[in-house]
Symmetry: C2
Subunit: 140 residues, 2 copies
DNA sequence: TGCCACACGTTATAGCATAACGCAATTGAT
DNA sequence: ATCAATTGCGTTATGCTATAACGTGTGGCA
């Protein structure tokens, strides 16, 4: 369930924004994206936010709530969950030293959170799991 | 582990800010807190943020990352985990219709996330789990 | 042709958070 | 008692994040 909308061809702005996120080594804020695209004609925040909205809708990027920043989705064509994706909630581990983000998901966590919701009659729409800390390199 | 610092006597500003959060039925933004305390002499955002920083440190309030807002901690003197608290990560279910927030924790979720971290050598500092959706009343 | 949906561009504004300065009160060791 | 260190406080200014509201252009399609 909760499958992202299938990605149609991207528009020019969407392509540019996705490109910035794909090349980045760490989450990027909307205003940083704007700055990096000034040479491509970007002038206003809305150009970025509108592209981001669509990319989020397509499931191609994630928003990190605790950072107010964005990353390209790291698990396209990926590992588990059988055909395609449509995995459950994605969790993020964010290194506060080097900024790198690891993306993963865990069925058991999903089940537990779903179980709580079912029991309480809460209908989940979107779940954020973000672990801030130090990655193995930085914790050494 | 991760026990909040024991709460010393609160200062005047901390008491006022905590009062606003305690009486609120839903998360409150820093600027809303400011507005509600203008009659008590609050004039600037920093008065609020400084009090919030301390209350967060004492474990008396939580910040909701996906909302940029704050709530009083709902599980003082509480249910599980044996003596006192010192529970693990707290999760929030946030109703996007009525704004109410339910606070809970789940050991199994904690264990799974800790397990992932241990396996990856990631050292967690603070974890946010926020489920946005509709509460049972609003989903009806 | 006329309508609709959608992306886009621009200006303005709203909302969230902190830097940097200086003063006042408290504590606590000498 | 006094000095120094710490902590909270107040103020001004600034920066970062996000959206409202308006108008233009383009492509599909009855």
């Amino acid at each position: 369930m909760n499958a992202p909308i299938s990605p149609p061809a991207l528009t020019k702005n969407q392509t540019l924004v996705f490109g910035v996120l794909s090349e980045a080594e760490a989450p990027v804020s909307a205003y940083t994206i704007l700055d990096r695209l000034r040479d491509h004609g970007f002038r206003a925040p809305l150009q970025v936010y509108r592209a981001l909205d669509k990319l989020l809708e397509f499931g191609m990027v994630h928003r990190l709530e605790s950072l107010n920043a964005f990353v390209a989705c790291a698990h396209r064509e990926s590992q588990c969950c059988g055909a395609g994706h449509g995995h459950g909630t994605v969790a993020f581990a964010i290194c506060e030293s080097c900024g790198q983000v690891a993306e993963f998901h865990d069925h058991e966590v999903d089940h537990r959170l779903e179980g709580w919701a079912r029991q309480k009659g809460f209908r989940p729409v979107k779940t954020a799991i973000e672990i801030r800390g130090l990655c193995s390199s930085c914790a050494a």
